[in-house]
């Protein structure tokens, strides 16, 4: 049992998996000698060499498109997109090709690959180094979308993603890379895709989140405990396929739900969570389904006073829960 940061969990898992399965290659911008701009691939180039750890040209569509071909011809690519904000040049390859290969070929071909991308705000990254992009991908049938929030889950989920037979988007929150540490067993455990986790039990209100917001939800729950508000926290972990059972059971129990996401509010991923609850848990609801989200502006602004204005935080979550509990 060792303690790792989230970035160490990513790095060590990539190394473990590459030792286990020589079909795995890592490719992307600066993933080689430099070890990635966040050092997520640090050391891999030295251990596995330039054929399995490829520095690509500055061409995201190529990174994904070539990964598709490599997967078709027997490899297990784990491409890195340097920032989630820069995944859009590859959007067509991901949506039209990787996600549809199995369905359109009636199961003749598939694209087992894990696309890693750092995402999220609160890091002075401004509009183009702070985005939460999960809503775009969680809407796409054929993709799986994972957002870990602890080093333990990161190792377990990244193993499951790499071993999965379908394309997985694996989003890592930049702010958690070094700020979040936790115990990780040295065993070859996995955390299954499609399984949410109740990270705190409570009676009054369910708070649903993922990634950094799953942590903020727990902090908000702490704040409210003293006030006698009992909060249950559900960390979704996988956005697609979604663990509807855990979600419905929790809200079925508490009757109230706050959905938290960092992305822009309108049409964000949490809207689907609210829609599911309004449709399937209606009989159990004792109050409106409340969303605490980023505002509807094109991106996280840079100056710290503007960035603070944008980011959801434990206080905002607590405020919403407080009012919903009193509803």
């Amino acid at each position: 049992m060792a303690v790792q940061t989230l970035i160490e969990a990513v790095r060590s898992t990539l190394a473990d998996e590459m030792r286990r399965d020589e079909r795995i290659i890592v490719l992307g911008e600066d993933v080689g000698k430099k070890g990635g701009v966040f050092l997520a691939t640090d050391g891999l180039f030295d251990e596995f060499g330039g054929e399995r750890v490829l520095d690509t040209p500055l061409s995201e569509s190529l990174i994904v498109g070539a990964s598709i071909g490599a997967a078709i011809n027997g490899l297990r690519p784990v491409p890195e997109i340097q920032f989630a904000d820069f995944i859009f040049p590859a959007f067509n390859q991901i949506l039209s090709e990787a996600a549809r290969m199995r369905y359109r070929s009636n199961n003749s071909f598939a694209c087992p690959m894990t696309i890693r991308a750092p995402y999220g705000g609160g890091v002075h990254g401004a509009l183009y180094h702070s985005q939460s992009v999960e809503a775009f991908f969680a809407h796409i049938p054929g993709l799986k979308v994972v957002v870990p929030s602890t080093p333990y889950d990161t190792r377990g989920l990244l193993r499951s993603a790499i071993r999965d037979e379908d394309p997985v988007l694996f989003f890592e929150h930049k702010k958690m890379y070094r700020s979040v540490r936790g115990d990780v067993p040295d065993t070859d455990y996995t955390v299954p895709l499609g399984k949410a986790k109740v990270t705190r039990e409570g009676r009054d209100v369910t708070v649903v989140g993922y990634g950094l917001m799953a942590h903020y939800a727990l902090e908000a729950a702490e704040l409210l405990e003293s006030e006698g508000v009992s909060v249950e926290v559900v960390d979704l972990r996988t956005l697609r396929p979604l663990d509807g059972t855990t979600l419905l059971e929790s809200v079925g129990k508490t009757g109230k739900c706050v959905v938290v996401y960092e992305d822009n509010r309108f049409g964000g991923f949490g809207a689907e969570i609210a829609a599911i609850l309004a449709e399937e848990a209606f009989d159990r609801l004792d109050g409106p389904i409340v969303r605490v989200t980023g505002p509807d502006v094109p991106g996280v602004p840079y100056n710290h006073v503007l960035e603070d204005w944008f980011m959801p935080n434990p206080d905002r979550i607590a405020d919403a829960v407080r009012r919903l509990a009193a509803y």
Binding site: I25, E51, R52, T56, P57, S59, S61, L62, V64, G65, A66, S67, I68, G69, A70, A71, I72, N73, G74, L75, P77, P89, N92, Q93, S96, E97, R100, M101, R102, Y103, R104, S105, N106, N107, S108, F109, A110, P141, G142, K144, E165, D166, L193, G194, K195, R240, P241, L242, D243, G244, T245, L248, E249, G252, E279, E280, A281, F282, D283, R284
Partner: protein
Amino acid sequence: MAATRTESKAATEIGAELGLARDDLLEMYRLMVVARAVDERMWILNRAGKIPFVISGQGHEGAQVAVTYGLRKAHDWMVPYYRSVASLITFGMTPREIMLAQFAKGNDPSSGGRQMPGHYGMPERQILSLSSPVATQLLHATGIALAAKIRKTDQVAMTYLGEGSSNQGDFHEGLNFAGIHRLPVVYVVENNGYAISVPMALQSAVEDIAMRAAGYNMPGVVVDGSDVLACYRAGRDAIDRARAGEGPTLIEAKVTRLTAHSSDDQHTKYRTAEEIESEKGRDALPLFRDQLRSAGLLDEESEAAILEESRKVVEDSTDWAEAQPEPDPATAQRWVYADAPPARMDDELWTGARFAGDGGPFGTLAAEED
């Protein structure tokens, strides 16, 4: 660049130089004849209202058969596009398999009736499934070649596209990467002068797409698509280079589109009657036939036999394919993933209304199936 042509020697002589036996020459001709017959039948079926859509390769067959002929079946990879009818037949796809795609039957090996006609693909033949957005397949061929190099499989990947599609960003990104890593991939641009209605002058700043090869450190070969043996040489040389580890090649075959872009297009709107008529002179099929005739490889009889055989093949494949069962809608939700349900682990497929508790933990109303 001047398009390479073979000199006016006898086909047999040129063939010999190229290592093509008389049987190879006849086989190439046969493949062209079959491809044309299958292709023409598609259009007849469309006009007869039996299939709603056709997109095919009439005018491209000479280049397609010849460039492809040097590949190793079921070893090398073919990454086709929607006009690749003759390439596919050359690489082993049968007229029956092609006709199943036209009728979109349940046992259509390309997609089980899920895709439009023209979107071919078969794993057992190493023919990659094709989508509609153009040029995306170049990156797949590039990645296949990357894996072939890393895994040392001695495979070559050949991919095909139109000249219009070579103006997509993916073309640039793919060729650059293949050039950097000297990948065993051959890019074949079938230049028929139009992207639907848009003529070369408005599509590309240069007349020859092959000129771009120099920017990716690979040979760019322009070849006359009506000269079958010149196309074979270009394909063979590129395949040899790729297999020898000498890297990728960009081949541009100047071909002609004898039909409208597709059954949805009226090309008279942007092509003159004269042009449409004169373009028939660039059809490789009669030209190659004449070559084989004057080389004494074909006579009235053998020619008629080939035609008759191809007619039979087309009859058989059409009737057989048409008689196959439609896909079963009950299977339509399958294969979004290998193992998981389409969107939620607790999912059934909801095409209709999902109510409070339908299939969920708080059921109050029963779901009606639709």
